[in-house]
Structures are given as C-alpha cells and as structure tokens.
Subunit: 422 residues, 4 copies
C-alpha cells in the first residue's frame, strides 16, 4: 500500500513541509504522489514523460540532482518511482471516469519548495509542532506542500464520491519558483486534448473561507543569470593589467534600472544575487548577478528582456570582459475565461466553509501555470486560476509563512465541485 | 612696404591681440607675417606648402574657414597672401645667412588664439588701453600673439646684427590649441634637414627676467570629439520609442572617469563641451562631448585613448544609438637634449634683462611642438623648448590673461644668442 | 477700432503665427485680444489681474521680459494695453449676457508659442504663403495661435447670435508649454464663481470634422531646472583640484532614469537640455539640465518629484559641488464630468462640419488647464477638455506643424453650441 | 621543553604552514613562538601587552576569536600561553645581550595567513609532501610562516654565536594582511627606545641568493568595509516600496573608480568582496563591499580615503538607504635610511648563499611595517625593510605559492650579520 494512503491531507502536507524539496529536486514528493495515484488507478507519467527535458530551465548541476535523489532515497521515497524518474521530477496522472464522453480537465498543482531557511522558534507553528523543514536551505514558504496535498485530495474525493463525467489529468509540476517547470510541462502531449485547465494557489493574502474564482493577468516574467569574467591583477601594483568584472556588473546594474518605461503598460526590472568575491586588493576577475524582468504582457516582457540583454552585453564590451548569460526561468500571462469564472464562482459558493467568492483579481506576481493555461486556450479550450484563502500568518516567501490547513479541504471541494459543473 | 614693417614688436603684438584668430583661422596673422618676411628676403611657403593638408586635425567647417578668410580681408590682410594660402593657415619662412655652411635651425612659434571671450573691464589692460579682441569669442589668452611677434623680431634682429652662420627656418604654426597643427607641420619636407629645433613659450608662471632653458616631458595628449545620435520620442507618450543619446553619453562619462590608473605613470581623462539639446519632454536624440586623455608617455596616452574609445563605443551599443568619433587633436612628449640645455642656458644668461636661468622644468600640460622636436631628434638632430618669463597677471587661458611686453625682446634675444652659439 | 476687428479668424491666426511669442512673452497677443474684447463690451483683466504673479513658474529673466515688451511695441501692439500688463502676460475677459441668471462659464484658451525654429521651405504652408514666424526661435507648433483665434471667435459669434443665458469668462492663458501659466491663473478670484470650465485643443492627431468631447487623464507633470556648480581646474595639471559638475550631472542622469517604477500606475522620467560648456582640458565647473517627471496621478507625480530631488541633491554631494534647483513648470490631472461629456457631445454633433464625435479619449501628454478644471470641480462645478480635429500635416511640436483652418469655426461652434445647452 | 625547540626552521615553517592561522587568529603560532623564546631567556609580552587593543583594525567577531582559540588548543598550542593572550594575538620578545650598552634593535616579522584556500594537487609541494593547510580557507600564501620561523631562527643563531652587543626586540606581528596589526603594535611602549627597526619579507619575485637591502616607498593604503542597508520589497508587486541597497552600491562603485587622479603622485582605488544576496524578485535590502585606496604618500592616501567616504555616503543618500563603514586596515609609507642601506647591503653580502645584493627597490604594494619603521624614524632612529629572495614558484597570494626553504637561513644570516654591524 502506498505510504501516504493512510495519512490525512494535513499529515501529508506536514510530511512534505518537513522534507521540503526545492525546484527540480522534488524526487520524494513526486514518488510519494505517484505511488498513491497509481494505487488509485491513475496512469502516471514521470520525469521525462511529464516534462520535456530539453525545455527545462534553471536546472541544478548533475551533482546536485544526484544528491537530491540520494536524499530522497534516504528519506524513504519508494525506490521504484525514483528509478522511473530518470533524474527528472514531475508527474502527470490521468484517469477517466464514467464512459469517457465527458470533457478532459487538467488540474495543475506545483510541488517545489523555496531555497531559503525556515524560522526555528516557537512563534512558528511548524517549528513548535515539529514539522519544520529538516533541510537547512529549503522551505515550503509558498504553500506548494498544500497544493500537492490538494492534488491527492482531489483524487481521493472523486474516489469517495464516484468520480465525475470526464477525464481528469493531474499535473504535478516541478520548479514553479523562478518559472522553470511550467514551460517544459506545457509542451508535452498531455496537454493536447485538455479542454479545461484549472490551476490553484493557497493563501495570497486571503482569509480561509474566501475563494477567488479567477486570479488574472500575472506579469509575464523572465529571469536571466549573468556571469562576467575578466582578468585579475594587483590593484596596487598593476591596476591597468586587470579586466574588471565588477565595473562591468556595476555599469550593467546602473543601466538595467534605467531601461525606459513602456507606453503599453507596466514593466519591471530587478537585480539580485550579486557577487564579486575578489579581495579588495585584486581587480575583480568575476562577478555574477541574477536579473529579472517583467511585463504586463508577453510582448512587454520580451521588450524588457531584449533591452536587458543589450545592456548586459554592452557592459561587458565596455570593460573588456567576457559575459555569459543563461535563461533561468520564464513565465507568460493570461486572462481567465469569463464563463469559467462564472462556473467556478458558483461551484465554490456551494463548498462547505466558503464564506465569500471574489470573481476577479489581478495576480500581481508571476506564474508559470500561465504556459499551461495559454496552451489550452490557444487550442480552443478554457483556463482559470483559482485562489483558496488560507489565513496566512506571515507573507509568502518569508521565514514564518504557514497556512491554515482547513483550506486544504476547501481547495479540494472547489475543484471537485467545478468538475461536476463542466 | 609690409604693413608691419614700421611697427614695434609691442605694437604688432597688440594688433594681433586685437584681431585674435582661433586655430586654422589665422589668415590675417599669417598674411602679415609672410608679407614682412618676404620683404626681408625670406622664402616663404604658405598654407598647403607649410602644413600637410591631410594631416590637419580639428579643422573648422568650410563655411567657417570661408568666413575667416573674408574677415581677414575686411581687417586689412594683404590680398596676395590670402590668395596664396588656399584656405589653409601657417607659414614656413627660410633664409640662409653667411655661406650656408652653418647648421639649419628651426624656430617654431604658434599663432592661434583661444575660443573664449576676453574681459572687457578696466582691470584688464588690453581693454583699458584699447587692444582687447574685437572678435567676441576669440582671445589671445595663451600669449601666441607674443610668440608671433617674437618670430618677426628674430628676423629683424638678425638683419640688424648681420645674421648668424647658418640657415634659419621660422615655423609659424597654426592651431596649437588642442594639438591640431603641430603634427601636419611636422610631416612636411621643411623638417627634413633641420638640425636644431627651438620652440618657445612666454609666461608659464615665470616672472619677466627668468628663462627656462628646457621645458620637458609635456604629457602626451589626445582629444576626441564624440557625437551620439539616437531617436527622439515623446517622453510622456512613448518613452520606449526613443533611443536615448543622453543616457549613452552619461554612461560613457561615468565609465571614462573610471578607466584604470596605469602602473607605468600618470594618466589623465576629462570630458568637456557636453551638450544634449533636447527639450525635457523629448527623449534625447543627440548628445555631443569632447574627450581628452593624457599620459606621461606616448604609450600611456595610447592606452588611455584605446580605453576611451572602447568605453565610448560600448555606451552607444548599450543604448542602441549611433556614435561617431573624430580625433580633434594630438600631442606627444619629448625631453630636451642635454647639451642644447647647456647652450641655451648660457646664451640666455648673456641676454639683457635676464636675471635667472632655470635649466630644467617639467611642462605639466601638453604641446604639439612635441611633434616637431621629436621629428628632428629622430633624424639625429637636437631639440629644446624654452620658457620666457612674462609676469602674467592672470592664469593662462583665463579672461584676464596678459603678458609683460618687456619679455618680447628677451625672447628674441634668447633665440638669437642661441643661434650664434650653435 | 481694434486692430483685429476687421480680420477674419484665419487672418488673426496667421498674424499670431507670424509673430509667435513664447511663454510669458505673449505681450502682443494679449494686447490685441484685450483690445478687441473691450471693444466688444468685455471687462478685461490683464497681467497681474489675470494671473497670480507669485505663482508663476519658469519666468524668463527681467531682461528677456523687457525685450519681449519692446518687441511687441515695435510689432504694433496697442501701447495702452502693454502698459496695463505691467510686464505680465495673460488676460481674463468677462461678459454677462441676458439677465445674469444663467450659469458662469469659463472657457480657457492658451496663447504661447514654442521655443523652436520653424521650417522655411515651400513644403511648409506658413513659409510658402508668407506667415511663418519672423522670430527665429519661436514657433506656433502646438496650435495655440488657433486657440487664441477661437477665443475671439466665440465672442464674435455670441455677438452675432445674441449671446446665451449666462456669464462668459474667457481665460487667455500664457505659458502653457512647460505647465507654467495654468497654476497662477487657476488661483485668481476669477475662478471663484465659475460653474463650468471648458478648455479645448486643436489637432491632437484627429482629422477636421472630428470632435472629442472629453480628453481625460493627462499625466500629472513637473519640470525642474538643475544647475551644478563646481570648481574648474586644469585637467592635465591638477585634476584633483577641481570639483566636477559634469560628473555630478552624469551620476544624476544615470540614477534619475533608475528611479523605481511604481505599483500604482505609470510614471515617467526624462532629462533634457544638458549643457556642460567647459573645454575638454578643464574640469567642468558648471553643468545644467532640465528634468521632467510625470505620473498617472498627482500622487505618482509627487513620488517621482521627491525621488528626483533626492537623486539630484545626492549627486551634488557625491562630487562636492553645489546644486540649485527651480521648479520650471507643473501640471496635474483630471477626468471630465460625465454629464458634461454628454452635453458637449450632443452640442458638437449639431455643429456644421462635424462628422464624428468621440466621447472619451486618454490625453497621453500633460496639460495645465488641469489646474483650472480641477479648481472648478473642487468647488462643485464641472469641467471638460474638448478636442477639435484639425488634420495636422505634421506632428505637434515639429517644424512642419500646421493646422487646417477650417477647424477654427468648428471650435467656435462647438463651444457656442455647448454654452446654449448648459 | 618548548614544542618547537627540537625542530628545524624548515620543520617549524612547515608546521605553521599546515596550521595556517589568519589575521588575529594566530593563537597557536604566537603561543609556540612565545614558549621557545621564554625558554631562550627572552622576556615575552603577549596579546594586550604586545599590541594596543583599542587600535586594532579589522578584528573578527568574538565568536570567531573564541573558535580560533579553541582550535589552537585542539591543535596543541601550550595552554599557558593561550591563557596569557586574553584573546589577542601577537608577541614582543626582548633580550639584552652583552652589557646592555649596545643599541636597541627591533626586528619585525609577521605571522598571519591569508583567507584563501590552498591548492591540493601534487603540483603543489606542500600538498605533495603533506604540509598543506588543514584549515580550508586559510593558507600561508605570503610567506609569513617563513618570517615567523626566521624570527625564531635569529634568536637561535644569536644563542649559538654568543649574541651581539645590544638589545634585541623581536616583534611577532599579527594581522599584517589588510594592514590591521601594524598600527596597534607601533603604538606600544616597546617602540619607545628602539633605535633601529628592521623588517623583512621573503620572496617578492627574487631568486634565492638575492637580498634587497631596502624595499621602499610602499603605497600608503586604507581599507574600508561598507554595508548598505535598505528595505526589501517584491520587485514585481511593489518596486517603489523598496529602498535598494544594490543600486546604492552600484552607484558608489561607478563613482569610486571615477575619483580624480591626483597631480602629486600615484593613487589607487579598488572594490572587492561585493555581495548583495537578495533573490532576483526582491529589491535588495543589503549590499556589502570592501573598498581599498592607496597613495604614494600618506597625504595622497588620505585624499583618496576622504573622496571615497564622500562617494560612499552620497550613494546611500541617493537611494535612501543606510550605510555603515568601518576601517578594516591601514598602512603608511616610508623610505629606508641611507646609511642603514649601506650597512645592511654590506652585511648581507657576507652571508652564506647570498649571490646578489640590490640596494634599493620600490615596494609596489603596501605594508604596515611602515608604522613601526616610521615611529622609530620619527623618534630619531633608523629603519629599513629587507627583501630575502626565495625563488617562488607561483605568485604571492595565489593557491600555489611556496617558498624555497633555503631562504630561511639566508634571512636569519642577513639580520644577525646586520646586528653585528650596527
């Protein structure tokens, strides 16, 4: 019997929270999910069968992947599933209910944790109650542990309630943080026949009991990693002999923030993770930075990305250093389909514990579920992104983030009730 | 009879001061000098016969040149000489004394005024005594009016004193300011047989009566004019549609000043004449700037010039604008020949009015007589750069600059006495 | 009889075009307008009676103002009116029709030309037909000549048609360009009893025959003039002795463009008119620039203005130079009143020559009529900003700008028809 | 018996190399040295008795110091000495030879390792022969292990040879790297009666057998640590809410490199260790950097330091962030006394293995022995800085740095021979 089968959704969520796995390292999570879903009659595709390997972005090194697999093994992930993944996380689980005449509906949940440390003091419930992450630099600070649990919960509830008239495809997506796993999952054949695509997120500032039928218009986003490599030299003895990677990076940063605003709508630019580790008496031979751009539309995002690349490259030329860039992640944007908003809104209103339904809300941030929703919309299908309030005690991505676990059942209910209404 | 023949050196200097002509516009000055020297038996080469036209740097537009010729005509320059100049200023005057067996000695004086306005109040003697420049934006603020007078004075004194044993070549150089006329004059055949090259400067912070036998080691220098051209756009309506020439210039300026210091010796960088004339509601389509670099050696100067070009070009790429650069002027460096230092020092000590002789002094600034001196030295000849103290009441290049005219005779004497000693 | 009384609106517009007067210099324009309106029974307040002198922004120097008055005199402006203006342009003309029981309606037209040169070739009708500006650096390139003519036209048409039931206040505003005259005019008592405020603009990309009932949501705007003053020094001899105003300006420019985008809506930043006139061998002692910020709301504009001031000041500190700033101009934003949109739209539809009425359109740029409209709205009145299509052959503010003069009558008609409907 | 007594200088050097201790962490090194010297009859002052605690620069945190003490204990440092140090490294050992009538001579050697990792492959002799550093981020890459051994060697040799006529003060200085320990040691009373101060360095590009009598004119140097602290904010959701520490740092870096060159002589500026660890979707709340300035003279160094502080502070103001700076290290400059150059040169020429003596050489880098030498010179004494060639196979401060251990005896000999000649 699957390890998770006897656990409540809350216990599963806590177990995942305790063993938080960052993007492309969700081996234990994927394996546990796959095990229960196969037991429940789903056909499960794993790893290279669930994401297009060539489209993956921001993938850790082979050494890091191997270490993550090994860690999953040590922490009890079922071996068979680890083997089937071939070093790539992610799962798509498919089950047809009834006679197969009903619609094909995709539900996407993401599984990855953030690369950050978790609060360890008693003010933080996971620490107080013993399920804080045992991995020092990984933490479920954006509720994906809950999303994964909801994914399983949907399968369970359908089993209990006799299914619905259609085919369910559960997309357990890896590496949402940074926008790295959505695109490779969206380009698989699993999407080809999907008529409705539902994605969901817990929290987002809403109290438990509130459901947002349609979060919309996330900013399209791209992340680029930049490395400048110059030549070291003694800063006292021969400053002219160096090629200064730090001057290149500083020039780039100054000018990246100066990319013109665009008439067509909001854009964003930011730089993070800047490191130039040379001692102060050596001309910097190396500087790295992580650049992020956004735009209200995919076009605006491309505008920013093109401008950023030009600035980054010219800064290298200016200081005669080499530059390498790699796309770390990317998301696009979407708007929910209006009739689906109505359907979801009404379905959510019938769920136990729901006290308020908000029809539309701007997303603010960025999301790579956007690639899955847009693909379905471009094929003529419909998509939507639900929000499930979860009374967070601290902001997303912070060390004290937690969710109200009562929201798990509401999330399951909102999706299952929607499936029944399509 | 030549217009100047009956005037004293002081009166000639005052006449030139009043009709100050900036670089490449010294038509009246050249014509007056040529007229008197031909009268005195010199063979005079003018314009294209005195400088290599293709090597000229920082030449004004054809319209400006034509206007300068016309102005010279209106201000009484002898027509014949204007015609012979063919639009190019400068003169080389040659006369052999004795049997021609003596050495060929070049003396270089420069003739151009600065592009700046002159003080008009009574604290300024030229204004008070009525010989301030009548040209609003041209002023003899670096004593070249005096140098030109000294050039004539040398010819006069030799006539009075019966010459010397050798051939005198007087180089009346145009466009010393900015380092634009020295190189083209240095590349003419007139230099081919010169065995000694003397250049001189009045003032330079020394009192009348002091002579510096050898100013040395001027900083090598290069000046580059830069124009960025982008695309205008309304800054409110469509800021992204512009290509911002001002952002390019600002980036260039920030990084030009950041060119690394060099282990091998002093370098300099400066930017001037920056203009970006767009109204504040239009993205700048155009920005110009004048860049200057220097170095203790010609190699250091080239290092700075290469670095500056790379920065300037990369700034254009960074903001997707076009850039054009042109070399406005250039100088090199030199050291006086040691035995000539002795000769000049002793000769100067015998001149009436000389109270102190300094052997060596660092130049500090830059000078394109460097090209003439180096050419002679490279041919196996000797060169030196004399300083003639002139008790300036205000700094060189400032609105109140003036010279003590007693220094004119000292300058003539120092050169003529040296000629007799070679 | 007033000079203009016998001229058609087209002829008046052409006369004003030919004698284009930039902001705060509209002495001839104001005098001509005042003369005819007094003749037509209006009570006319001039200069300090029409704008609050202390609130004026971007005022030229006393010398420039005196020269502009003198020029107006030479170009035939009626003396009496020049005298009454006391050196300040602008007029408010008031006339009550009927028994005075009707509403008080303000109509605002602006009078100033741009500070730019006009095309002189035959492709440009004003040049071809002989009414191009005789003032080299002033040109009516934004149709304010037509606006002024329309202002007179409204008075004429009401005379012809027997007035309307109410009081008309015609605001002939100076110095709209840069947003300099709107605020001081909005703060006079003339506004205190105004119940409706209409402003209008010709052109704006619309064909003749199109009327836009309500241009709305101009970007709030502020313009700041900045001067950095440092210390000159010879760039070769003593670069450390300078205090470099150009480095300060460049640092400011780089960082101004880097002011963060704002979550609450669009913002803008631009820099123009940058000048640093030092020769390239002197450390820059002076640099000037004109900064412009904008925001979708007045609050966003203030955010940008505060950020810009902080950047500008810190750049001075960074390079140890002095900085002075002065507010050159400012505008705010507004939305037209919805029922007035209906009234104007219907009225415009009844005007001869009108072929299309657009209800709402975003303004895009900035306008200081915003201050007059907002004051009236804040008092409980209503305001609107009309657009009168004029088939421009070239963009606003460009050298070939011109208007289709058939639009003048349409403009008069749209306002007069609206007056009758209030 | 002291632990080191039975070991050769080479073995001591290798033991110190293997247990490399970075600046202010030289607890084991200090303790071992003190133990042997007390055994040899020196009076040894330790820690707060050897350096002025309040003048220390760049001191690690209390936690780091405590860990370093503990590590020294574990690695066999004699307990008694660890206790006497009171958490501060450094030793001054004094012994009078003969009747005390001779001069008081100081010899300064430094003891600290660099904070860097060491090569571990067989191309590197310390790795191949098993004495590479066991501390991952500390390495003797600047020969201070050899200097310390030489310090002991001098005591041993004098014992063997019957001393000299005078008092020897051995200064075992901590924390030379960064210029942190020289100043606090120079301000103790131990210097008050010193008549001659000798310092020495191995290597510096010279082959074994070469001795430089006087390395001179090191650049005066100062190092400043800078931390900017702003406010984080989500870069997509609310970029305006952040206060961007990274923009401050970038602005500072751009302008630090733009500090004007100085007429009086060479200056240097460099920035290293830049870190801004925010993820790319968060406005940077923190950025750190290490700034270094240098100058040919102490005055030039102060000029650079003042300029750097102004730039650093203004960059904080510009981006509305907080800044803290702390002086990490500082050195000054000196010139060796000419008669001491002769004495040392002649003495060195008599040492076994010495094949060439160079009198004078410019130092190039920076050195805080400068403070000890200057103090003695200011008291009327004499100072000098010797170089002992050591055929380094790789550059100082690099991972493959090593010394030819034959140079140890030459170093001992050059000093002892000099002592005999004073």
């Amino acid at each position: 019997m699957a390890q998770t089968s006897t656990k409540s959704l809350t216990d599963i969520r806590r177990d995942l929270h305790e063993h938080a796995e960052a993007g492309w390292k969700e081996f234990r999570t994927t394996a546990l999910v796959a095990e229960e879903l196969e037991e429940r009659g789903f056909e499960v595709s794993l790893g290279p069968g669930a994401v297009d390997p060539d489209e993956r972005l921001g993938v850790p090194s082979d050494e890091e992947i191997a270490a993550a697999v090994e860690r999953a093994r040590e922490e009890g992930a079922p071996e068979e599933y680890l083997d089937r993944m071939e070093g790539i996380t992610g799962a798509v689980a498919v089950k047809t209910y009834g006679d197969g005449s009903g619609p094909v509906v995709g539900v996407r949940v993401d599984m990855d944790a953030l690369e950050r440390s978790e609060a360890t003091d008693d003010d933080h419930r996971p620490a107080r109650e013993g399920f804080a992450s045992v991995h020092p630099d990984e933490m479920h600070a954006c509720a994906h542990d809950g999303h994964t649990a909801i994914g399983l919960g949907i399968a369970r509830r359908l089993d209990e309630e006799g299914g619905f008239d259609g085919t369910l495809k559960l997309f357990f997506q890896p590496a949402e943080e940074g926008g790295r796993g959505g695109k490779p999952m969206s380009e698989t054949d699993h999407l080809a026949d999907v008529e409705y695509m539902l994605a969901l997120h817990l929290g987002l500032g809403k109290e438990t009991g509130t459901v947002v039928a349609s979060y919309e218009r996330p900013l399209a986003n791209a992340k680029v990693d930049v490395t400048y490599e110059g030549e070291p030299a003694h800063a006292g003895g021969e400053p002219n002999a160096g090629r200064n990677a730090l001057q290149a990076a500083s020039t780039a940063i100054q000018n990246l923030y100066g990319i013109p605003r665009h008439a067509d709508g909001p854009t964003r630019i930011n730089v993070g993770q800047v490191h130039s580790p040379n001692p102060q008496n050596i001309i910097a031979e190396r500087a790295t930075m992580r650049v992020e751009v956004r735009g209200r539309t995919a076009e605006l995002n491309e505008y920013m990305l093109d401008e950023a690349h030009r600035v980054v490259d010219a800064a290298a030329d200016m200081h005669d250093v080499d530059v390498t860039t790699s796309l770390y992640g990317k998301t696009t944007t979407f708007v929910g389909d209006e009739d689906l908003v109505d359907t979801v809104g009404e379905a959510a209103g019938r769920v136990d514990g729901v006290t308020e339904v908000v029809d539309h809300q701007d997303f603010g941030g960025s999301e790579d579920a956007s690639f899955l929703i847009r693909r379905v919309q471009e094929q003529g299908g419909k998509g939507i992104y639900l929000g499930i309030g979860a009374s967070n005690v601290a902001g997303h991505h912070t060390a004290y983030f937690d969710i109200d676990e009562d929201a798990l059942d509401i999330g399951v209910g909102a999706v299952v009730e929607t499936l029944a209404s399509l």
